[in-house]
Assembly symmetry: C2
Homo-oligomer: 337 residues x 2
DNA sequence: CAAGACATAGTGATCGTTCACTATTTGCGG
DNA sequence: CCGCAAATAGTGAACGATCACTATGTCTTG
């Protein structure tokens, strides 16, 4: 009791207190805010802290305060580069005094949902932002309503902010292509577990209908280049569209390859559009007409709604719009018949 | 929504114990391993746990055990898709009973190092795996040598596993291109803060030297398409190489565009190689000769060395090789003069 | 100068779990 | 049925911080 073997262990608040000649509670006050301490006391604690190189044990603090100050972000698997969204989200969380940890779950939607429930149930984080699709059963099984979950890309059953699924640029794409004389379109969709893929598909169908255009159909894909390639290969010559609207740039690259393999020129015979503004597609000829996404802004706004739900605080949202079409070489006027 | 009582707290181990009619310690034993409990006791606890929907409070557990079971992975900013490496790392950590959290730090190397020190100092994680470059000062300032840090892409001053920086495929690329008659090469390097970029640059210089080839020089870039574009544009006509070895696929795409803009054909006039096997580069013509990386394997092996350092346990490494060249349309025989 | 208000500092309880012991029950040979 | 070891279960302290409350010091004020 008298002499602990203290050397190997990190210093505690009591050791700081003893060294500074004050009570542990005074040191605790010092840690939270330095107001309300006499300057001499403050100086003594300052000295003790730096002499011991003391840092508070956040686990112990969390235990007592029942707050972890941590938010989790659930990332999808291998689908798109989440780094930029993560940055926007992290920045917003920092402003609200939170730490962010990103959790990448191996496996499918069910596995991800399971892991999310585990995280929520063991009190490790105060909130979870899911950028990946979750299973609808998640909502019910939430243990005690303490961990708040916001899903950014799942708007059917759970709260979703919908911004990720804003497909309005696709409407602009089709309208503009129609102005350029295109009459027959084709859409290769992404993985329909994603709200964004569903929204783009819906926007495609509605816009084609509204403008009285023809459609060679919609193929449900999985965001892969192969899905774009296969979809275009599956078309018969006589049903070939003059414009292919792909769910993203990777799908578009597969579609372009299939068109080239069939001896068609892009954009001479067929125009192609993507989504994401992939850096490679900006350079490789033909440079791809795509949708630039402010991923940091998306991440920020998604995190904003989580922070709002957890703390009630409102932060400044990212400036709009978050997406806009960039027209490049892969699109052009429809070839007259 | 159902109303939730403000006082509803998560059930604790003692509540479970009371409901099951046993002591809290018995429940604790149940949580750790179910051996050594009488079947009837076990069944009673089972029932109590599921009735209360109990999950242990991991913060409290961490407090007592002084172990968090968490490892952190520090990710680089916007440079490459870390999701796949993260998966490999997570899988390996799971095998060793750890949870992984990925931390993406806004800012430069210094900011990242600062955040790492903070993480290490507050006892939040047991180890840190840095996939992003760190500042060398990190090593010294480590508070109490408790948190172990392994840097996967920083091999100058800190421990590094080096695998990420294995540039041997680049040697193979140059040798093969030399066999195809190429004599004059050019290299656009990546951000030299990365060990991988340095290794590729070194391998380029050494191999060109060893084989007695000519070099149009090395341009230090930043992994961006623009750096590839600008590097090729900066070349005078008379110094134009017949083969451009780019640090990665994005750089290669910029280089290809610059070559095409100058009226050169790829691979007719100039062969181009990349690195990463970007999916888009597989489809867009000309498909790019690149280096396929087993990113999951890289992540796994990086995590292995962290797990080894933290626990002493050896896990099964990923099967080798982790990288191999895939030859595609962007490379071909040198055009005879 | 006494008394109350305010500023500052201290004491002990507490968060939920595991650790280190101690206590009780069970099993089994003689 | 006894005795003793092994199996099983219980008791209270400890982890390192904050919270709620109490205690002391200092400054006004009538």
């Amino acid at each position: 009791m008298t002499e602990r073997s203290t050397e190997s262990r990190r210093p505690t608040i009591k050791q700081v207190a003893r060294l500074a000649g004050v009570s542990h509670q005074t040191v605790s006050r010092y840690l939270r805010s330095r107001d309300g301490l006499k300057p001499t006391t403050l100086a003594r604690i300052d000295a003790a802290v730096s002499e011991l190189n003391y840092r508070p044990n956040l686990v112990a603090r969390s235990m007592r305060t029942r707050r972890t100050g941590r938010l989790a972000v659930l990332l999808p698997t291998m689908v798109f580069n989440p780094a930029r969204m993560l940055h926007g989200a992290t920045e917003a969380a920092h402003e609200a005094g939170f730490t962010v940890e990103a959790i990448s779950v191996i496996g499918d939607t069910e596995a991800r949902t399971e892991r999310m429930l585990e995280l929520a149930g063991t009190g490790q984080v105060e909130g979870i932002l899911a950028l990946a699709p979750l299973s609808p059963r998640g909502e019910d099984q939430l243990p005690h309503g303490e961990t708040i979950i916001v899903a950014a890309d799942f708007d059917d059953q759970m709260r979703g902010i919908g911004e990720l699924a804003d497909a309005s640029p696709l409407v602009e794409i089709i309208e503009r292509l129609a102005e350029l004389g295109h009459r027959r379109f084709f859409h290769v969709a992404g993985n329909l577990q994603f709200a964004s893929a569903r929204a783009r598909k819906t926007a495609y169908l509605e816009t084609v209908e509204r403008l009285g255009l023809e459609s060679a159909g919609v193929v449900d894909g999985d965001w892969s280049g192969k899905s774009g390639y296969d979809a275009v290969r599956s078309l018969a010559d006589e049903e070939m569209p003059t414009a292919v609207v792909a769910a993203n740039d990777v799908v578009a690259s597969g579609a372009i390859r299939a068109l080239v393999d069939r001896g068609l020129d892009v954009p001479g015979d067929v125009s192609v559009t993507g989504w994401d503004n992939n850096e490679v597609c900006l350079y490789l000829p033909p440079s791809l007409t795509s949708v630039e996404i402010n991923l940091e802004g998306m991440g920020r706004n998604a995190m904003l709604s989580l922070v709002k739900a957890v703390t009630g605080r409102d932060l400044e949202p990212a400036p709009r719009p978050l997406q806009h079409v960039i027209w490049r070489e892969s699109t052009g006027p429809a070839r007259p018949r």
